[in-house]
């Protein structure tokens, strides 16, 4: 009996073993068949996809953490063509909501190639429009209405500027292809944008950890003070209106470290509508006139001429000269701004009355070699190295150049025949306000990446004059402002500064009816904490800097001391003595 069971058991086991073997053989056969290879290749097509990932562009903040450039969510509105049931209705609805024509949308929906499964109707659609469309879709779905079947929204980020046109000349803008133009956006485009990379995104859940994380762009903290920037822009706009000037720039810088606290220029543009660029600017140099446009600065350059002469030992503040109203340099007669003789003058008087004859005499006394050596030390004719895109370098003709003439030694001394940018002048004169050390102007304060803030160190661009010379000239310029009862003065604060009125050169000589008016000043004199440069183009109410740029300086200085918490001199000295 047991024998029979044993045989039956053996038969069953053998049968099962054969079935199992057959299954295994079949599995191996199927897996190695030609069809299997085809299926595998078909499957691999759906194993994942390559995606181009654009990191989130870094933010830009002012020095107090106010957002100047961020990112806003916008949507790509597209349609899955296979799901569309009513192209006619969809074209009508989308045309209404997206501001497109019915024909345009209908053509896209009906005339796309057969192989296409998805088409983009419109990109960069605002959140409000998408929200309205989503509400409509929900209503239609509730009513079992298929008219918007297949409509899809893909969110992504777009550059946005909450302050619209504030500091637009400094920030620059980003176009829809993600590239920065002008200013910070162009200069630091690579840092801000991060590195777009193509990654393989597997659909296989076992490979989820293989998807690389894309690093976002670096955020930047600028040296700008948003509130001061707003005030300075407001003052500039008012000045253009009050004095009938065409355009202008105002820069406020900390002379101790080169940090630019405000940089205003006209015209400004709403950075969220960058397409306006071509209607506002004829060329790129106009985008930020403070760095992009060089001009003959006029008498503000006398600060550099006097600094060079004092440092060279050619003159002292007490040196006198007899101003006869004219001087001949290189065979050309040079006259004062009012064509009058001012008699005996010391060097402070020369600066106070802004005498061309005196300064031409000073440069002649220095000699060609020494004068131009100092001008080069002050960085004229060279880029300042500011971290903004589009900087012009101006022109300093030197002996040996084909267009340099001996008279240039005289005219350059009072700012004719030489071209500089506003920022170049500010940088050069920073040596006077900063104990002989000339600072490199910069806008970037720090970079923020991976939760860490990396501060950018300030740089000294050189020491063209001694500390003693700087102190002496500081005092001379402060006295000259005070004795002239200048409109640049600010009660409670001792300031130093110099006006500059320059006729505008044309192809046919100087246009006597139009001027560029400038002013450079700083304060408080015993501890300079801000420097201001003002340039107004072609004012019509007055051609003189003392009546236009000087009062503007006073207004900017007033706002600077308030917003930078600089007490009046008396209070400051009291506080310091406590």
């Amino acid at each position: 009996m047991r024998q029979q069971y044993a045989i039956r058991s053996m038969i069953i086991v053998a049968g099962l073993a054969v079935v199992l073997l057959a299954v295994i053989v079949q599995i191996i056969r199927i897996q190695n068949s030609e069809q299997a290879i085809i299926f595998l290749s078909q499957g691999s097509r759906y194993a994942g996809e390559f995606q181009m990932v654009y990191p989130e562009r870094g933010n830009i903040y002012d020095r107090n953490g106010h957002l100047l450039a961020g990112n806003r969510m916008v949507y790509e509105v597209g349609v899955s063509l296979n799901e569309v049931e009513s192209p006619d209705s969809m074209a009508y609805i989308l045309g209404q909501y997206l501001g497109l024509t019915y024909e345009e949308v209908f053509k896209k929906l009906t005339e796309s190639p057969e192989s296409w499964e998805y088409i983009v109707i419109q990109d960069y659609v605002g959140a409000e429009t998408v929200k309205a469309l989503e509400q409509l879709i929900n209503q239609l779905e509730d009513a079992d209405d298929p008219r918007l079947n297949g409509l899809a929204f893909k969110p992504h980020l777009q550059r946005s500027y909450p302050e619209t046109d504030l500091a637009s000349n400094v920030l620059g803008f980003v176009t829809r292809d993600g590239r920065g133009y002008f200013g910070i956006e162009e200069k630091y485009n690579d840092l801000l944008a991060g590195n777009p990379i193509q990654i393989w995104v597997p659909h296989d859940p076992y490979k989820a950890d293989q998807i690389p994380k894309v690093q976002n762009g670096t955020s930047l903290v600028l040296t700008l003070n948003r509130d001061l920037q707003a005030k300075v822009e407001s003052i500039l706009d008012q000045a253009l209106f009050d004095y009938g000037a065409q355009n202008g720039t105002i820069i406020v810088m900390d002379p101790r470290n080169g940090e630019i606290l405000a940089m205003a220029a006209t015209p400004r543009m709403d950075l969220n509508n960058f397409t306006n660029y071509f209607s506002l600017y004829d060329n790129g140099s106009q985008f930020n006139r403070a760095i992009g446009m060089a001009y003959e600065p006029g008498s503000v350059i006398k600060v550099l001429t006097m600094a060079a002469a004092l440092d060279n030992g050619t003159v002292t503040p007490e040196t006198t000269m007899i101003d006869t109203g004219f001087i001949e340099v290189g065979g050309i007669i040079i006259q004062n701004w009012n064509r009058e003789a001012w008699g005996q003058q010391n060097m402070t008087g020369c600066l106070q009355h802004s005498l061309n004859v005196c300064l031409a005499w000073v440069s002649s006394q220095m000699g060609t070699q020494a004068f131009y050596r100092y001008m080069e030390r002050f960085g004229l004719g060279h880029a300042t190295g500011v971290d903004l895109s589009g900087e012009a370098i101006g022109r300093l003709k030197v002996p040996g150049d084909s267009d340099w003439y001996p008279v240039d030694l005289g005219t350059n001394a009072f700012g004719q025949g030489i071209s500089v940018t506003s920022l170049q002048m500010l940088m050069a004169v920073s040596a006077v306000a900063n104990e002989g050390r000339m600072v490199t102007p910069h806008v970037l304060h720090s970079m923020v990446r991976d939760g860490h803030q990396y501060n950018v160190p300030s740089q000294v661009a050189g020491s063209p004059i001694s500390s003693q010379t700087a102190h002496t000239l500081n005092e001379m310029l402060a006295i000259s402002l005070e004795q002239e009862s200048s409109k640049a003065l600010l009660p409670g604060y001792r300031l130093a500064g110099k006006t500059g009125t320059a006729q505008i050169p044309t192809d046919y000589g100087y246009d006597v009816s139009r001027t560029n008016v400038s002013f450079i000043g700083w304060g408080p004199v015993d501890d300079p904490q801000f420097m201001v440069y003002i340039w107004l183009q072609s004012p019509t109410t007055s051609i003189w800097s003392s009546e236009t740029a000087a009062p503007v300086f006073s207004q900017v200085a007033e706002q600077s001391v308030i917003l930078l918490n600089i007490p009046p001199d008396v209070v400051r000295n009291q506080l310091a003595s406590q």
């Binding site: 047991r2 058991s9 989130e56 619209t164 040296t223």
Partner: protein, 155 residues
Amino acid sequence: MQGQATQIIHAYKQAPWRIQRQWIGAFLLIVIGAAMIAALYLDVTARTALAGREIQQLRIEVAGVQRENADLQTRLADLTSTEVMQQRAVELGYRSVQPGELDYVAVPGFVEPEPAILLAAEDTIPHVHARPAEYTQSLLEWLTERIKSGAPLYP
């Protein structure tokens, strides 16, 4: 004594079904063992697949939240922009301060803070070593490592 032993051996030899049962038992044991391992493997792989899918979903959600965060940050900046704040200040009856209206007070030890952006919520990439080996090692890798390091196989 010897006879008894012979009888037992004889009796054993005369029961081939016992040998077959032993074979069947061993076979079933292997099958059950294999089935248990297969079930365990299936369970682990299923859990891994679910976790992987969850990771994929979370990544999408993280990207969405980051986008939304950036958008909200910009909207907040819109609401606190210079122009808006100035307008609100005027509506509330404030005006710009004049230089003579300011009082300055010396605060001992006060140092004006350097520009700094608070980044408490800034996303940081988790360090590779932050994930314990237990979450990534297979049993075989763990065994190999323990044997190579000479560490005991039990706690």
